[in-house]
Amino acid sequence: MTDLLASIVQGSPPGLLLILAAVPVALLPQRLSQPAMLALPVIGLWQLFQMPAEFSQTVQVFDYTLEVTRIDALSRVFGIVFHIAAFIGVLYAAHQRDPLQAGASLIYAGAAIAAVFAGDLLTLFVWWELTAVSSVFLIWASRNERALRAGQRYLVIQVLSGLLLLAGAIDLYAQSGSLAFEHIGLGSRGGLLVFLAFGIKACFPFLHGWMKDAYPEATVTGTVFLSGFTTKLAIYALARGYAGTEILIPIGAAMTAFPIFFAVIENDLRRVLAYSLNNQLGFMVVGIGIGTELALNGTVAHVFAHVIYKALLFMAMGAVLFRVGTIKASELGGLYKSMPLTAAFCIVGSLSISGFPLTSGFISKSMVLSAANAEHLLIASLVLLFASAGVLDHSGIKIPFFSFFAHDSGKRVEEAPKNMLAAMAIAAFLCIGIGVYPAPLYAILPYPVDYAPYTPTHVFTVLQLLLFAALGFVFLWKMGWYPPELRSTVLDVDWVWRRMLPAVWNGVAGIWTTAQSAFLRTANGLRLQLLDVTSTHLSPWSRLGEPWPTGATAMWAAALLLAYLFLSY
């Protein structure tokens, strides 16, 4: 019996349980479904811990050998943090009675988990697309027009990413005869296609528009799930396939820098968090581009820390949206009076993402910065330092300050529901726990860790940077120079497909219609003229149309034959 159980546990890919159980569990009565949903990530994590640290399982499909499960140090740590994120997300959503969101979020989490354990590109493609198709329901579940359209745009881009992955995988297979998902590199056409597929989901510059567009339109609880999985799956895939690919260093550096300008002026605080998410992905991408053991450890540690503090920040802003009815900074302020616990948890998340000592962000981000320094990457190091000061603005100050402090908006609401507070408390505990005692996290990183985060240099330089940046805020605010929060839309690259391409399309269509009607007019004129000519000359009463005498016809025929006779000599 235990053998059978053990074989089932070891035989199925991690994540599959969540996917298969999602729909039945979501349809159970509320009283049963919530405990069952909370149990699923716990069982999944237990299953992962039961499996060997190095494990591979293949199945034969036609002529292809698919490695449906590949556990190694890199995939394992992603699997662990995805299970934690799923648990926190389910707890945060536990007040809801929405089978659609319940089912979609479990399938989504399960697909992301299964994807990081995919050992070949075809298996990866299947789970990659399932994350796209399942997650869009978390956007559509807002059940309004904006969300419907944002979800459609999101789905198109996500599926496109999957198709690029499939095309690249086929190309790589044609070249090498193998579908194995190992280091790919940019040396081939297939490698470039897969790189682009990963780049879309990882929010490379100019490919990032879908995320800031769609995530803030998802439901209060949906955004918490969305923030955890899709982009980090892409980071995993890049770390697996493109570690040490140098172009990732400037790409990642640009990702850390550009979004922070948008984050400063964006009014929707969940959209500010989406920009902040993009900025955080930049640190990870730089780490992958550097590709040393320290850099990759830093990237993975940063993923682990980031999934939790980012979920915490989205949970806090979700709770505000849930209670107040808006998440626009211009409408908020003074909420610490009615939501003190949410405010406190939010501040823990803000300190963590800013990388203050004794929080998870400090022990992970400093690894990436140290790796950039160690490789003597001057520009990248300075950009990352600049971006660290930028993080302090949008996530460290703007998010908690404009929602919970600033001008009192006069809004008085209830504190967040208990389940939301519990989820935030767990996340906040982990943020501080990892920061204070990073050893367990360092122990599960892909490479042996020989890194001490708490040196005087690290601690004091980080504190100087952050505290003087904070003084910069105080200075600007006191002088009245800090840009006020305004109800507005901030244009970004999604403008290209929401406005420019439709305009170009309409323009082209307009030119086409004009050209078409001009052509038809001319053609019709010619047709009438031709009709006129033919009806004049070929009508029964015209010169050519009237009956000719037989004699004349015979005469012409004889003349023609004679001419032919001459010509043939």
């Binding site: 609880t221 160690a374 908006s409 330089t461 100087q464 952050l466 105080v474």
Partner: protein, 108 residues
């Protein structure tokens, strides 16, 4: 913090006074921040800084960099608004007030 503005209604009548509502308390927090910030900068004298680049070992490099980067970032973003800021309903009608759907109602 201190200056009230018309678009932000004042708190309901008869509510208890909060510690942070007093401007002098806010100023106290700012003073504490300044003292701590200066303190961690002066700490540079107390240990040997390890930097991979020469400038990283300069006294107070990160403090100066942090302040300039922050103020520069915010002011650049402010200018950037002229280029990319549009009305709230630029793409479509702005989102109305969020109301929990039946599915999202709370029973705690």
């Amino acid at each position: 913090m201190s200056d009230d503005n018309a678009s932000h209604p004042s708190p309901p009548e008869g509510e208890r006074a909060y510690w942070l509502d007093q401007p002098e308390n806010v100023n106290l927090l700012i003073k504490i921040l300044i003292v701590v910030a200066v303190g961690v900068t002066l700490a540079d004298f107390g240990y040997h800084k390890h930097g991979h680049f020469g400038f990283q070992e300069w006294f107070a490099f990160d403090a100066v960099f942090g302040f300039i980067a922050y103020v520069g970032l915010v002011n650049t973003a402010k200018l950037f608004r002229k280029l990319v800021m549009r009305d709230e309903d630029y793409y479509e009608a702005a989102a109305g007030a969020y109301e929990p759907t039946d599915e999202e109602s709370v029973d705690d």
